[in-house]
Structure formats: C-alpha cells, structure tokens
Assembly symmetry: D2
Homo-oligomer: 287 residues x 4
Amino acid sequence: MGEQPHYTGRLLISCPDRPGIVAAVSGFLFAQRANIVSSHQYSSDPSGGRFFLRTEFFLPDGCDRAALAEVFAEEVADRFEMDWQLRWWGERRRTAILVSRQDHCLLDLLWRRRRGELDTDIVAVISNHPDLERETLAAGVPFHHVPVPDGGKAQAEERMLELLEGNAELLVLARYMQVLSDGFLARIGMPAINIHHSFLPAFPGAEPYRRAHERGVKLIGATAHYVTARLDDGPIIDQDVVRVDHRQGVEELERVGRDVERLVLSRAVSLHLQDRVLPDGRRTIVF
Amino acid sequence: MGEQPHYTGRLLISCPDRPGIVAAVSGFLFAQRANIVSSHQYSSDPSGGRFFLRTEFFLPDGCDRAALAEVFAEEVADRFEMDWQLRWWGERRRTAILVSRQDHCLLDLLWRRRRGELDTDIVAVISNHPDLERETLAAGVPFHHVPVPDGGKAQAEERMLELLEGNAELLVLARYMQVLSDGFLARIGMPAINIHHSFLPAFPGAEPYRRAHERGVKLIGATAHYVTARLDDGPIIDQDVVRVDHRQGVEELERVGRDVERLVLSRAVSLHLQDRVLPDGRRTIVF
Amino acid sequence: MGEQPHYTGRLLISCPDRPGIVAAVSGFLFAQRANIVSSHQYSSDPSGGRFFLRTEFFLPDGCDRAALAEVFAEEVADRFEMDWQLRWWGERRRTAILVSRQDHCLLDLLWRRRRGELDTDIVAVISNHPDLERETLAAGVPFHHVPVPDGGKAQAEERMLELLEGNAELLVLARYMQVLSDGFLARIGMPAINIHHSFLPAFPGAEPYRRAHERGVKLIGATAHYVTARLDDGPIIDQDVVRVDHRQGVEELERVGRDVERLVLSRAVSLHLQDRVLPDGRRTIVF
Amino acid sequence: MGEQPHYTGRLLISCPDRPGIVAAVSGFLFAQRANIVSSHQYSSDPSGGRFFLRTEFFLPDGCDRAALAEVFAEEVADRFEMDWQLRWWGERRRTAILVSRQDHCLLDLLWRRRRGELDTDIVAVISNHPDLERETLAAGVPFHHVPVPDGGKAQAEERMLELLEGNAELLVLARYMQVLSDGFLARIGMPAINIHHSFLPAFPGAEPYRRAHERGVKLIGATAHYVTARLDDGPIIDQDVVRVDHRQGVEELERVGRDVERLVLSRAVSLHLQDRVLPDGRRTIVF
C-alpha cells in the first residue's frame, strides 16, 4: 500500500507441471529487463500435478505493457497451456459488499479500506435491511437497500445483478444472511468471498452458538471461502479459532465469534486483492 | 506434584442450584477447621440450573476422615441432593491405556508419568498389536497383547475386561484403532478418554489427513473427549489446533496431527486426574 | 450486557488469607437471601498469602442496599481486614480515552461501546492532535484537543486533569504517544490502562517494528497493563501474539501489530469494567 | 522422510540481489534436465538487498553429480557471487546433542529421530551430568559424561571438541545449562542451535519462571536460535507461546515451558536439517 509502488507488474500462472516452466518465465522476464521483487511457486505434484506461480517485478520506464503481454502469450503461455493474468500497479479492482444487519465485518472492511490496508475501491454496499445505511454513507460508499420479501428472492437477485454488473470485480458476503441462488452465482461474473462460523465439531443449521455452548466446545472459529454452488463448502481461503471455556455464555461466544469472523474475512479479502490466493480445484494455494 | 502435598482433601460437588449451597459447604469446612486452598464453582443457571464446585483444603492433623465424610453426607450433601466425591492426598488412581501401533500418545503419557506430571499409576498397556511392547516394558509397565482377529472382537473385549476389572479407575484410548462395543463401554465401570483428529470442516471416515490436504484446510486439530456410546461424540474435555498451509504434504500434516494429538490427550488426562473435569450432560465443566 | 440484568450486585474482596473467609461471606449473603450467580476465588498462598473473591448475586426486591453494605462492613469486612467494593447493576462507570493519531484502538473501543460489549459510558476523548475529532464526534462523544507543545507538558496535563476530574472512573490510553508525568498519574484518581507492543525479545526505544523485522522475530505481540510510574511496567492485564514471517515487511508487521493491539486493549478494558481484574501488587488476578 | 526420495538434489543460494538470478539458475537446471520439485525465493530488497533461493529437484538417472556442481560454479555461481550449497538425497548429516539434567528436549529429539521426522543421525549425547545416560543408550546413541567442575571449563570444552571434531555437522543445545566460551563456539566448526525460555517482558537471570509468575505474565514462550558469541541473542529460527493464567503456580508454568521448549527446539532442528533456514546477518529466512 502506501505511496510508493512495491512493484510494477504481477504475473499469476497456473498450468500443468513439467520441466522448464520457471526457466521459460524467468528467462522471459529477464529479457524484458524486469527486476523480480518477489516470487512464489508451488507444484501439487511434479509428475502430473499442477504448477502455480506468482511473481512481482519492476520494469524499466517506457516499457510497452500491451506488447509485453502479447509476447508473453506467444512465447511462453501458450507453450505451457497456462492460465495466466498480468496485473499492473494502480489497476485497482472494485469491490461490492453484501450485508444484512450485523455490522462487524462491514465496518472492519470499510476501516481497513480507509487505512489503506485493502487495495481496492469499495463501490457499493447492498443489504436486505436498511440498518447499516448511515455507517456506509459515512464512509463515502453508496448504500443500496434491496429487501428480499417472501417469494421475492428472484426479483431481488435481479436487482442486485443490475447493481453489480460492470461495477465490481469482487463480491464480499460480510454476514449476508440470505442464501444466494445457483443462478445468481453463475451470473455475477466475479469471485465471491463468504465468512461463516466454524466449530469443532460443526453445528450446521440454526443457533450454532447456542448448540456449541450446550456441547461445551473449547474453540470458536471462522472460515473464509470462495462461494460455490455447494453451500459453505467452497475453497477455503483462511481460518482461525479462539479458545473459550464453560464460563462464557452464548452471548459471549457470539462476541468472540464476531472478533474472529471480522479478522478472518478481512485477511481473506486482503489476500485475494493481493492475488495471493490461487484456486486449485476444491482448494486454494495461498502464497 | 512434587513431594509436598498441595492439599489434604478435595471435594467435588454437583447438584441442582439453589441459594445456600456455598454457605453450607464452606460453613461445614470451617467447622471442621479446614483451610481452603483453592475453590472453583460454576452454575449453569442460578434458576433451575446445575451447580458445580471443586474445593481443595488442608485439614489439621489427626482428623477422622471417615467421620468427616459421614458428617458431610448427613449435614450437607443429602439436603442439597448432591452428587459428591471426597478424595484424599495420596489416594492415587490407577490408569490403563489402550493403544494400537502409533506410539506418540503412549510415549507422551509414559514420559509425563515419569516426570511426575500425571498423578496416577499406569498399571497396564493393552494393545491389539505387539509393536509397542518394548517401550512399555522399558517404562516399567506391564504390556498385554490382545489381538482382535476378524470375528473375534467379543472374545478380545472379554479378555480386556478381565485385565481391567478391579485394576484401574481410568481407561485412556491413546490411538486405539478398534471400535469398542457399547457392551464393553457399559461394563468397564470407569471413565474412558479418547483422542481424535479434528478438522474444519470435519472429514469423517477413512484417510482424513489426505482429504483435509485435498481440501486445503488451514488448521489441523485434535479433540479429547469422554467415550460414550455415540462414536467420537462424547463430552469434550480439551481441543487445540495448529496452523498449516498448502506446502505441507499429507505426511507432514500427519506429523503436525501427532503433535497436537499427544498434547491434547495428555492435557485432558491430567485435567481428569486432578478432578478438574466435571461432566454436565453432553458437555464438561473444566475448572 | 443486553436488556436483562445478569446480576443485582457484585462483591469484590481482597484480604489476608485465613480460614473462614468464604464461610463468612457466603453465610452473610445467604442470610440476606442473596442468590449467587457466579463466584471466583483465588489464594496466592493459603498460609500467609492473599485471598481474592469476586461474587455476583441476585437479591430479592425491596432490599435496602445501603443497609446491606453497612452490615457487611460491620459483620464481615472489618473482621477479615478486607479491601472490598460492592457494585450494583446499572451503576455504569464513565471512561475517558487518550489518543494521538493512530485510530485503531479508539475506533474499536467506540464500536464495542455501541454494540453493548463495553459496560461504560465513554465521556471524553482527549488528544494531543486534532486528527480523530470527526470519528469521535460521529460516535456522539465529546472530543478535546489538548496539544502538548515543547515545554508545555505541565500545562497540558493541568488541562487534562480539569477535563477528567469528577468526570470519569477509568482512563484508557489508546495509543497516546506522550509520556505522562508521575505527578499526573498520582493526581488522576482513577486507574489507567495502557497498550503497548511486545516482542520476543523486546525492542525498547524508537522504531520497534523496524528493529523486530531486522531481527527476524516470528511473533508480534501486545500487552495491556495498568499504568504506574514505572514506564510500560505496570501490572499486566492481558497479552496476545500473532505469528509472522520474513516475507512480511515493516509495514505489514505494523498492520499485524494494530490488529493485536486493538484486540488486547479492548479485552483488557472489558475485563476491567466487569471488575474481573484484581490487582495483587505487581501483578493482577484475572477472574 | 519415508522410503521414497522427495527430491534428488537441493540447491541453496544466497547472493547480492540483481536481475537475472532466477533466469540463470532455472535455465541451468533445465539444461541439466532437472525437474524442479519445490522452490522458494526471497529478496530482502530488490535494489541493493540480498537474494535467497532454495530449490529441490529430481535429476534423470546417471547424471554426474560432481560434474554438475563444477559446471554450476563456473556458469552461474561465480558470476553472481553466490554463497551456495548443493546437497544430495541420502547425504545424511550427523547431529550431536548437549544436555544437562532436563530430559524433555533430548527425549523429544530422540523420539522424532526414531519416527523418521528428523533427517539426521544422532551420533553423540554429551552431558555435564550422568543423569540421562540410560535413556540415551536405550535409543542406541553413545553417551559421554563430560563434567564441568569449578575452574575446569577449559578442559571440559577441550574434551567436547575432541568428541565433536569430524563427527558431526550440527550441535544442538537441548537445555545445556553451562555457558559455552567464545573460543569453543569459534572452534566447533558447525552451527549450534539453542533453546531458551521467552517471556513478555523478558526476565533475564535466575529463576525466570518464579519471576514471571510474580509478575503475572499471561504468555509463556520459547525461542530457538543459532548460537553466537552474543548470549541468547543469535538469529531466531522459531518461537512459540502458550497462554497461562494466575491459577497456574511456578511448577505448572515450568511444565508448560517444557512443552513449548521441546516443540520449538524440535521444529527448529527439523527446519535446519531440511535446509529451510538461511542466515541473513542477525536474522534468518525460513522457507
């Protein structure tokens, strides 16, 4: 963050692993006179697995970015069947946030944005309740109240799609308590990150904190994951837990849960915006 | 532990909550000239809930212990419908351990016993495999190989019951990989503590570490609990987790899992032996 | 918190340990028809140590509170040379906050107050910089800018004393970057809680995060403590750490530091306001 | 570890950062038909900083290892002024351990060696006390009792140097309670790893656990570091902490300390033996 760029460009690659990938990529960058700032790579299995790479680099002034991308595609990417992206410093992605009534995740994201911890513009907060309008507007972010009345989910989702379309590259579900339809998820055209509580053992269904308390769990946790059609079962980005004991009532477990939820969600959104999360089927590689 | 007693007696109480319990118990102890060393209490709900108390105290020399227990029963316990126990310094409980092939939990328990961290005599190690005989004998503990051939579980459990009956007050399942029958659990006549891996989300069934790795979990955990007829679902005593990432293969996750398993199991056994774990239906109160 | 009281009164005791204290206190409460909701006690040493007790209880309607306190003093407290306090549900203490430019601790406290997590009224924010006025006023709290020019500390502290005197029962230093004089601390007449970063090893002096980074520390921590004349060395209330690694630059360590600082400070303030922190010389007992 | 090699060779590099390093190294490996298994790199600063690389790779059968090292030196290493090492699968390093009377770190290392968690041969245990001879011999490791009488340190260190010289590539101080002379450290000719307790704040000098207890610390920690002439101040390899509270006496803090010490030391030794710790002046890079 801050004023000075830590890099000019960021290259993300995912492809079938085989010898020569790093030599080809680093040879290409060297030929372009790029100076690598940081680089992480991972192979799920050197024989038959998948290779992942994330590189940040400086380029000398006056470099032709469009040409560079074209040359990379021709000389390197096609040969190795790469999924790849090239991002440039200053190309800030836009984020939209869905909330319901709980404010802890939303406020933490808005505050981190203001502190410069999240490299994004928050362009819209959409909620099925009007409660958080004042805080959203105070942070200079447009607020859209899209109620979801009984039988009105399809219409509400259409309205949300209109608000999102072309306006954001990331959707964050910051304790949005409505289930989104598969159709909505298929049409948003951007990744969505969700946060949900996690216990050992799990307590699916209603009133999880009450049931966790009744069962005497010693750890309260949260999981941030990409949203897929499989409810609460998308690729995990980050997780954390906090220790609790029998003296803490349901209310206090919920308070602890809020603390760990806002922290894990903000960390996951930050990792995503730094392109440090690469999907690998049902899991993620986090560099 | 060490040489000097930290207390003479330990009183454990569980009863329906209502006013006057603490006044009655502490008045009784004061009248006996007991000096309270430590005391913990908890009420699940002051109206209609359950009250739990654990007190350690010194008594002046020459006190008649049997008489004291009798007087307590008459004057206090019956009036408040208490479940209660009175333990005396030096009344060491005996522990038996079930293992299979994995040695990490067993060795940790044997070592802590030797260090004086566990206030118990380990009287027997029973295993369905012969692998850990040498380490067990080296610690001065009898080893019993009770194989469980196909179709031979009933007979094996009979043999184990013979070995346990009258010889132990606690059974620890230190990675015992056989499912114990409800009948066995009903007949052992002592609490049993089990350790099992815990992930977020859970991966019931075979090869949990491989599946946790495929799913990219970020936390590897373990849960120690009392064994009940509901598999892996008894009252939780302790839990912990360790953070992992995608670079760690299945083997390394298993290594991390062993570290957290042995720590959590030893902590749970230690808490139990100090009478710090009071059952409360499907959960525990840990003082 | 919430609408329903969890208790009527809260009794805090600290006195030389000797037999009979619990019997006397619980006998007194029972005689007053009090119903104990929760109770914690601790003795630093049953022979010659100090005894600490915190009890929450309900009283029947119509009880005369002033009389009860008087009777307690006469019948119990004096006999055992007790330091004691009796607090009643609804007697909310007032908190003042000192800040400089960093907003993370202040905003977290204001937000938790609004959520009902902190049982206090925040009556004033005092700062040596004007930066955080807008956020403070937005939370409905008066903001006082008290600059501390070179050579003007004595005058600034006089102004702060005027603002605090009779207006608050707790002072929180939420990243206030001026050293307070011993005279100021002696005159405020209320406890003060401070937060500061903690590393292993410690890096006293300027730019601690840069030096921690140069030294490759693996844990970033924070400590909340009562302020005494010994700088950063008062009784510890709470501490926590977060794991970091070499990839994280100074900026990112500072970000991690902010997260752990705001969490630890808010936890410490909450514990204090619930009267769960009892001083014991240079340390605290946290129930 | 296990039966199958996870790699053939492991290349470790540290050099002044400048463009082209990764291209040169990966181009070289590709030309040798090496298949990279894993690779980590880090630059302390792309302009004027230091570059670190750790790569594991497979080579086709029949490759001439000596020739490969020679070619790498000529074609790559010299050009970039690299400090480098090339290690081959199966070249197991030898470890010697210094202990005094405390057994927890020693036993953990011996057990992990037997489990195959540490890729080393433990060739000697040297102690200034005879206490741990039986456990050492039971693990099949030679035990050397080298007492350090008053005024006899120089002679004892000479004896230890004789035992170590040419016999080990790593020295582990597993709670060795004697201060080693600078001369000894200068002459051992191998890295040495030490473990020591860590508190927030630190308590240098005698009886740290007693003083930590008196001060009410909430976290008990341990730090593993390379030994340098500056006592307890060498580059940190790993650290960890465990939460404690006022109820835990000095004895129990020591027990918690042992648990965290053995875990952190074993992790640090394992990281070192996997060549995952690269020194960078007063700190380490841990891949």
